[in-house]
Symmetry: C2
Subunit: 199 residues, 2 copies
Amino acid sequence: MDARIDVYKALGLQLGEAHVIRNAGGVARDAVRSILISQRLLGTREVAVIHHTDCGMLTFTAPDLRNIVKSDAKSRPANVKEAIEKAVDSLEIYEFGHLENSVKDDVKFLQDNLLVLDETEVTGWIFDVKTGKVSQVAQGKLEPNLTCILRLFMLHLSRTFVSIPIDADCEQPSERTSPANEVREKHPSFSDLEQELAT
Amino acid sequence: MDARIDVYKALGLQLGEAHVIRNAGGVARDAVRSILISQRLLGTREVAVIHHTDCGMLTFTAPDLRNIVKSDAKSRPANVKEAIEKAVDSLEIYEFGHLENSVKDDVKFLQDNLLVLDETEVTGWIFDVKTGKVSQVAQGKLEPNLTCILRLFMLHLSRTFVSIPIDADCEQPSERTSPANEVREKHPSFSDLEQELAT
């Protein structure tokens, strides 16, 4: 949900190309309901998990956050305070300590999840908020040899899930660094393919 | 998560202005963890719940979806089939039958939720996917007399949550119909205010 990331602009997506799911941390466990609906009712078959550098989820632990909430509740009436403490203790936070591992964990979670269709191609990516570049850190099952940028473009051509995290205030990735636009520039033939697939 | 909606473009948001949470149905119950993190660690104090017309969540019931999943699992080994049935039966679907009521319910849910800060201004909106217009259907507590468009612009000036649903293939709302741009055109003085607040 990071305020620095305009997903369509950053990935060069056009309207109609992807279902975009966003939550704090880009956490796959928090997206299962949405993915289920997208797959079973709307036919998507690829999931791209994208976390980003300089992510707020790396800066705290679940106990840190729970302590903030409990501290904020100190002046509330005793019964309300107790209800808040109970609510925050039972809420999953899904913080993580290592960016690349968090993407790999999410990809494995979705690949193993019984509610995600078996034929789903799940890949994992890191978006660099400073450069606007995207790099692949977890392969799917189908096309492990495609390069990062090409793979993202392939995703770009089909319906894709994109799930992105939290934070604030940074440079805007330029149009030029959009992965889809880069591929279009370097591989003019892909523009034809794209047009063909769009019709 | 609707593929027809580019949130930044549709609402005229600039980078850094809003945390955007997106899931199937724009369901607030599925966004509590993200809202908690955004409020307690990043200081947001306003939540705009936005659902949209022609929403896929209006077209099925939870039993419909569960039956699709169970039917897809028919050919799996008995133990896998049983595990899938159990998983989908225990997953909350949060479908809704009436668009405006779904927004009002979500606003009330967040206003009453103990993990959402008491001083939070929660408002409810419907985005028309055909015209790109946004209309307010649920007032917050603080400024009930502001017009829809002005209110959205106020949200636009502060950090805002925007949560948007599911679907596919439609006209793109033009730049001109962006709520923030409309206010800028009609009220040139707001451009100054905006610049002032940005510095």
